[in-house]
Point group: D2
């Protein structure tokens, strides 16, 4: 079960598809092994970059079961259960927890406006999934359009003892990490794990502000693992050097909309998944974009 001491790199998994759009089980297994070999301390599936809303309920459940079975307890698996309604959220959550998931992740719906609406939404969500299920707040305003202040996050943590982690991907967000860590150090709020998303764009700085690691899906996850380890060892320059070598591709992969297609293309080129198929609606890479990616990969792999 996921706890608030979770750390390291939880790789965000895409959902691999065959050319015709069916979930690709063989690629799923290969991807899991590749991520574990890269040093993942956890996996997160069915998030925004997992094309979760594009899967039917039974497909989502089958994919989650497949990943959990392949992982076979080697690391915790977090499952995204964000949904338009609590009935769907509750159903998926209880089924994946039964299947062996370590916890679930919940992003707020874009209709929430005020501080109180956000806090109250999460109270209802916890009621829906049950208070015994460890869960993760996803704070990703660029996509959700919901802005949570440190104060709001602290209210959510305080009202729900089963909240064990913040997936932090606000932008800008470094001072938010500092504020949350200062508050837990001062005993004003329970300390939860903070893993950082946002494509990893600020990872070394986020670690230095007090994050416990990364939760993102950059197509060379070994870099994320390396940076987290180097920072933890106090090797600041080496951490930034490693990170900066990858930043050109990180930056390219972080483009909204097309970013997931870029990521899947690199994973395909690295032999991790069989195709870079996205379900509709989704962008197709242009020949020019593919040439850009090849250039970036070559520069990384050469260095």
């Amino acid at each position: 079960m996921l706890t608030s001491s979770a750390a390291g790199v939880y790789v965000i998994c895409p959902t691999p598809f065959e050319g015709d759009g069916r979930v690709d089980v063989a690629s799923t297994d290969r991807m899991v092994e590749a991520y574990l070999k890269a040093g993942a301390t956890g996996l997160t599936i069915l998030g925004i970059m997992g094309e979760a809303p594009k899967l039917a309920a039974d497909e989502a459940l089958a994919f989650a079961r497949q990943v959990i079975k392949t992982v076979a307890g080697r690391v915790p698996v977090i499952v995204g259960v964000s949904a338009a309604g609590f009935a769907a959220m509750s159903g998926l959550s209880s089924r994946v927890m039964d299947a062996g998931a370590a916890g679930v992740m919940i992003a707020p719906p874009s209709t929430l406006k005020t501080d109180d609406q956000i806090v109250s939404y999460y109270a209802d969500a916890v009621e829906a999934i049950g208070t015994e299920v460890p869960w993760v707040i996803q704070d990703y305003p660029l996509t959700t359009n919901v802005v949570m202040t440190p104060k709001v996050i602290m209210r959510i943590i305080e009202q729900s003892p089963s909240c064990v982690m913040l997936k932090h991907e606000d932008w800008p967000g470094l001072d938010k990490i500092t504020a949350l860590r200062r508050a837990s150090d001062a005993g004003q709020v329970r300390r939860v794990s903070i893993l950082c998303g946002n494509g990893g764009m600020f990872l070394p700085f986020e670690m230095e502000r007090g994050a416990d690691g990364a939760m993102t899906g950059y197509a060379y996850p070994e870099m994320l693992v390396g940076v987290v380890n180097l920072i933890n060892q106090g090797k600041r320059t080496e951490a930034h050097d490693l990170f900066d070598r990858h930043l050109p591709l990180v930056r390219y992969e972080t483009q909204p909309g097309v970013g997931l297609a870029v990521r899947k293309y690199v994973l395909k080129r690295r032999g991790i998944i069989a195709t870079d198929t996205l379900r509709k609606p989704g962008p197709k890479l242009s020949p020019e974009t593919i040439a850009d990616i090849e250039w970036l990969m070559e520069r990384i792999e050469r260095s």
Copy 2:
């Protein structure tokens, strides 16, 4: 099967719940009979005011089957199949069509921005449900935040022969009806049925601009039927007199968020459904609001 000559009043059905949140089958049946008795020429279920996103996939399907069974072919039943992804949309659509639905309704996701994105989304949606399923464009920018010009609607109609109806609820929208009717009269676009939503707030004027009727869920649907019939009979003054008597409650019921709770309260007070329960997240009526509604009902029923 739904056709582009559909007309009259398609009542938007709420989903009746018991006090504990389960779908209330007895109230569902009673509601169907009440709406048919009020003169409905069709029913629409699982729309925004049907709390569709709050139902699990199996609940939605069971509710649709129940309504279709109770209607027993007396009028067409349209089922809302809007979903965050095409897999869920396709699954629900094929199942309800198998169960006897007359057609489906699709609202655009709030992420769509440009004209081309909207047109392309509907092309993908039609591919997902299959080109043989009659379907309805839902044009409700106040809720979806997607603005479709007449030109965009015409492109959608032209690209999809199975599109047979526009659920019109833009605000303001009267000149849009005029533009669409002028275009179909001039042979620039195929004529589809236009039924109007938006709580009915502009119904008599919408009819005069060329709409074929209403698709909304005002808690006294017999008023909607009466207005449509009077306008069709050329009795303009009588139509507006009837409508204006109800306008104070129509206006009260059209408040965003709380409106559905108002509507369910009136339906409960009229003996049509057993409780006014909404699933979370949803507002609760204050005593002051209930007093307002009682005042409005009394003034309508007295007049």
Copy 3:
């Protein structure tokens, strides 16, 4: 100077233009006299429905001076000073206060997201206009996209002793009035004047919840005055009867975008302003819309 005991009807004034778009001074004077004759207890200028952002800085100031001069102290004049920046807000505010305005009104910019951002914006705004200038919070989420809870409004009132009024036009908003009045009755917050906008759509109910009057620009302001007076006299049925007679046109005038054009058309037809010109960008009334308005005016004036 505006105080928190302001009550009655503050009519929102449009800015009258000549056919070529210049500000129409003669119509301005005639409009002021017409509104005072209708029973206005105050006037509000340069609001959203005053096309304020379409005026150059010197035009706005000249218009404000003209209105204040014509009013000549008979009633208080509130001037909208909402601006994209505090320098412009401060400049306009100090100039209109020097010219004899009773107070200013400030709407929040649509970029504000969190509770704290809203509260902090108003702290900065008060610093910009000076703490001695009486001012009005404009709470109009349909247009500003900023949602203020009662708690946020109370924080703003508490932090700024010069805040004397809430222009209330949330939708739904009745329970918000109740919450604010309950809080001031219980001594939890200073009591400020609440005048209601939103085109007047809920005026009698708003008065019953504790509002002090209306601040809106319905083209028959004598109706607003009548409703406020009847409610204050305890004549509930008469108040609603009067209001409901006008509701069909109120509803038509409250359409976003085209509403101001409707209002100016009616004011022109009533001989109050010379033309119904709007500055660009702005809608033009179609012949069908003009026919609708004529029908509605005839029904009101006949009744």
Copy 4:
């Protein structure tokens, strides 16, 4: 006068303030000289990163005159004239053109939704500034929330012969450049200059897609100049090497909201402006953020 053959680097200038918020004339002059020395082929003032909406009308005009006077014809100066209304836009535009500006830049207001609304807005804007004034489309959806397809941009170019440049900062935007260049190569649309903003995050790739240069305000503009020149000389590897050395700071400076404060801090540290003051509302740099910036500057300057 600005023409469609403009190329190179047009540096986006911040507006330097003294500690008390007044415009800092001495820093303005020093900044102009520093940018010209760095190789700027043009300057752009009063854009979003110039805090334009925070200046009063007379301040904006005085600042523009100061910059134009100091530049003294050495390079073209573009002035941002985006405004909430056309009267203000027209007034500022004619005054700065009289003062010697080479052209103006116009961003769309966030209220625009449909393709036609965008095209029509720019038609009205051109009418407001006059058809003889060369002007730039600013396409920056991350901030404006307005998405313009290539088709829409081409319609705007075609309807306005005085439109000579696109400030391109869509995200993702590379394929948009490719589409526009393909269309002008094929004679489907007039060729205009494309300069790229977005903090410069994708500059070398943008150049390779057919952009003519950069228009952004990165605090080491000599890097932008170097990259543009190297790409133009066909030195791809050298261009990317130079760019990638700066990317860590470019990435840090591109954070929304806080980014301008970062930029001003670096400019202050480089001795270009005297203070890093922002006008309210604006963020203040935390000590941790300042330490991050110092680290990044040291790594750049050492390399």
